[in-house]
Amino acid sequence: MSALLILSLVVSCGSGEADRDVSQITDNSQPEDAGELRINANGEDFVISGFVSSDGWHITFRHFYVTLTDITVYQTDPPYDPHSGKEITGIVTVPLDGTFTLDLAEGDENTEPVLIGTLDSVPAGHYNAMSWTMIPSVEGPSEGYSIYMDAQAEKGNQSYNVRLGFEDSYSYRAGEYIGDVRKGFVTPGGSDELEITFHVDHLFGDIEQPEDCELNVTSLGFAPFAELMQEGTVEEDLVSLLEKMPEETYTRLKEILPTLGHSGEGHCYCTVLQ
């Protein structure tokens, strides 16, 4: 009888997680064992070199502007899981102050990702989470838009100027950077980097991927935009697209846009701000 009682009480306690000390501290001091952390933005080869959409349009970008603010990096334990959708609670939390409008199309395939900013002295450790907000620019060629692309789209004998602007604001929470190399490890006196990555293939698809893969099934391709061409130019924003696009296509566009932001190949939890 006693043994049964013991068993039932142990089972009711669940795993050993319940009594874990979840108290967190925020340490923004600059100790001697600090290092440098660079924060980059990257549109990958799709934006730098161009690509062919899922429906066969060759798209090359003259400019691809994004405007970012409220960028913050974190050391979290346990590692932040963006699937949870929870706020990021960091043992160490370091903001990168400022609002930055960046042209991800600058350079060529040999160019390094665009440097947003450098945190010169951050506590050593693994920065395994990051958050940022994408907002409309208040000046310059992308004024009024959080994303603004100036591109050329070609297919057969068709060649269109493309200027697409998206006005919405987005708040992202990302876990660890995922890519060829693991990033975010700052050692005392050392230097590493993190990256905010934009996957424009989520919008237009990628002909190099299988036709029935999720990316190409869910993306729009370029045809819905090409249909809006006037005098060789496609120049639209979300306001005009709402009027001109079929409702289903516009709804899909609005669903896709938040998914452009990543940390490398790591997916994010995104909140659309209106």
Binding site: S15, R182, G261, T271, Q274
Partner: protein, 149 residues
């Protein structure tokens, strides 16, 4: 280009969206870690690049490989090296990393479960309670027996 921070009126209404992605699960069978990756639409992450990192040297790959046609990959972690392992799966621009603590893994074939402090305290209380109850039971019988003598 850095521009001045200007006030923005945001978040009048906000709703969450999660980028479509991948799911990676793992389990400990005996001494082996078995990882399975799938896309959000349920398709397996077959032939995905796998990189395993040891907690002892988390920035350097411990081993690399690819998943099978079912999106599965297995490896035998060296528990002497570390109890903590990270496994990253990547395919076609999508990736995920899972963090594995062998110490906290569910007890399975050969797995090493660990009790929390609360569980240990409760077990101790129950054991003491059990012995005390048994002693009182026999003590009570002895008193009754004595009552009849």
């Amino acid at each position: 280009m850095k521009i001045p921070v200007l006030p923005f009126v945001l978040a009048v209404a906000a709703y969450p969206v999660f980028s479509h992605g991948v799911n990676v699960i793992w389990e400990l069978r005996g001494d082996s870690v078995h990882v399975t990756g799938s896309f959000d639409d349920g398709q397996p992450m077959d032939n995905a690049q796998v990189t395993v990192f040891s907690g002892a040297a988390p920035s350097e790959p411990y081993l690399t490989g690819v998943t099978d046609e079912s999106g599965k990959f297995s490896f035998l972690p060296d528990r002497v090296e570390s109890e903590n392992w990270d496994v990253q799966l990547r395919k076609a621009g999508h990736g995920e990393i899972v963090h594995i603590s062998l110490s906290d893994a569910p007890t399975m074939q050969g797995g090493h479960g660990r009790f929390s402090v609360m569980q240990i305290v409760l077990m101790a209380v129950c054991v003491v309670w059990g012995f005390t109850g048994t002693a009182l039971f026999f003590a009570s019988k002895r008193e009754k027996r004595n009552a009849h003598t």
